[in-house]
Amino acid sequence: MNAHLHLWLIPLMPFAGFLLNGVLGRRMPKWGVTMVALLAPLAAFGVVANAALDVFGSAPTASSLPCVETFGNWINIAALHVDFSFVLDQLSLVMLLVVTGVGFLIHVYSVGYMGDDEGYARYFSFLNLFLFFMSVLVLAGNALVMFIGWEGVGLASYLLIGFYFQKKSAADAGKKAFIVNRIGDVGFLIAMFLLVANFGTLTFTEIATKLGQDPGWTGGVVTVIALCLMLGAAGKSAQLPLYIWLPDAMEGPTPVSALIHAATMVTAGVYMIARMHVLFNHSPFALGVVAVVGAATALFAATIGMAQNDIKRVLAYSTISQLGYMFMACGVAAYSAAIFHLLTHAFFKALLFLAAGTVIHSLGGEQDLRRMGGLWRKLPVTFAVTTVGVLAIAGFFPFAGFYSKDAILYAAFLQGPSGRALWLVGVVTALVTSFYMFRLWIMAFLGKPRGDLATPHESPWSMRGPLVILALLSLGGGWMGVERSAGWINMERFTGFLTPVFGTRTATGSAHLELALSVVAVGVALLGWLVAYSFYREKSTVPAQLAATYPESYKILANKYYVDEIYRAAVVKPLLGVSRYFLEWVVEIGVLGGIAWMLAGGAKFAGAIVQYWQTGNLRSYAAWLAAGAAVVLLFLLVPWATVMAYLAAIHLGLAGH
């Protein structure tokens, strides 16, 4: 059965699409580009869906997972063996369904959104390239293959953020994302070196086996490895302190923000921690760091989101905040809750971004919330799906976000006093989230139009179709985790599905506690809505008054805690100074230039000397040739031994006399 899964097709299809559109895209007709671009992810999704049906169709005990496919040996040095291997297990299956499924929907949406762009083929070849690397990342059977995908999605992200490279801000944002991600990648690399040094392998299952043989192995080097991995994950998944690239990444086209910077790539960090969960389980300290960073990021980004006026930036900060939730879940070892939230978040955040894209598209590029308003009448479908997305992210029952967010909060609450502190942060974040999402919703869609904008019009079906599907998933996506027999918000089924990967966890909670916690969560979501409504409904002066009363706090929020400015002063400026004054003047001009000058001078001098032999007189060359030949002949023909002996004899004879 395993042989029929053909995992290699999953990355190969988008890669073929990338090559076709990248090389021939300019010469192909537009419908050809569209066909290639859409068929590639659809075929990959077909392979994944086939595997999924295979898995769901069989009994859990007779499941074919994990399915390992190895495509030959890659590195073979002493004790280190790295295979080119793909692994499909429950975890990668869920992730692949998100990547290819949501990915395909966003491809369809892009056909409408990017229809008028002259870089149409380039856009789709990059998008397919992203899917290729992302599926390599997800399918990887060892850390090194994962790293290929990890770097590759970074590249695709860079290319797509800087898609409008004529715009300086877009090019700068691409560079910023790439450089900040490098800092995280250093962590990933060091973690891999340490894994090789201490475990002698990079394969996930072998690491788990070695750790399993020694249950008492905690702390020490495992903690260091886990923290380095955490640094890598924080870079990719935009956690404190490396989140700064994600808001700027909104310079890319909106479907890119939906696919890469909301639904899939930024969740790679969460996926990586879930993949390496054995290491984290052996290091309580690293888990604590993950939980605290996640919770801090969730609250921090959510508060920034309250005071942003660019619709995409609000969503970007909300993505950072939701990723913080996922890290928090990983930090309390509730990996299945993290993956569940990853899944539902992919649905509703992709939906919100695509809806925002529709709004921006129909307003001719306007992104400022203050110039929107009253759009519900003009864009009824977009309004409806955005409402679903907002309700889902705010955590209203029975939308998808409710189930996954409550699963995280519940898991955190069960972790003793420190877990309750995390829970409290999570609940406050939920309140803030609900507030800023409803703020966005009210400012964009309700009230009266504020800007003198072109008449907005609803988008073509290729854009509305994915929106509707994603809205349905945001509405019902949470139900798949629920087992009716075991409490009504329990996510037993999803946890059970992932048990082969994460192992069983002993839950000590009760259905009553769960119910109480979820009532609290929905309560704060309602509160957030009420506050937002009273602040931002028609002719309300509350926000302005608040901003006037507390100008300092408002300024700090609106300026995103000045983190970019702090980094600029602390990191960028010193680095630029060193580059400009030390590297350029001393190293470049002094050392390197000096060496180059000396080499050139030496060559010139030698040339001037050798030039004298180059007379151009043919007969002098011939004379040199003949003289050389004569010397060689002299050495070869004259019997030097005899001559020397003769000379010696004469000498001795003379001496004798």
């Binding site: 007379t615 007189n617 007969r619 011939a622």
Partner: protein, 107 residues
Amino acid sequence: MNTFLSQEVPLSWYLILSAVLFVLGIIGFLFKRNIITTFMSIELMLNAVNLSFVTFAQQWHTVKGQIFVFFVMVVAAAEAAVGLAIIIAIFRARSTLAVDRIDLMRL
């Protein structure tokens, strides 16, 4: 072997003749100014080598040396054809055949 040495011209004489011819060729090549004489000196050197080839072929009773002579003659003939053509072209362009004047390639 004895009969060979006694009845016929010794091997060393052939080789000495070959060497003398070769040195004459070199001297002619180095000291003559006319390009045609230079050319003939080259032919002389080639034929000096041919002579030693034939000598050794006779001495060791193999045909390899004689075959080589044919190769050398073919190359010499081709060279003569190309070389004379070049000489004519040079003469048309410069109205002189003195090698010292033909030094435009000089730095």
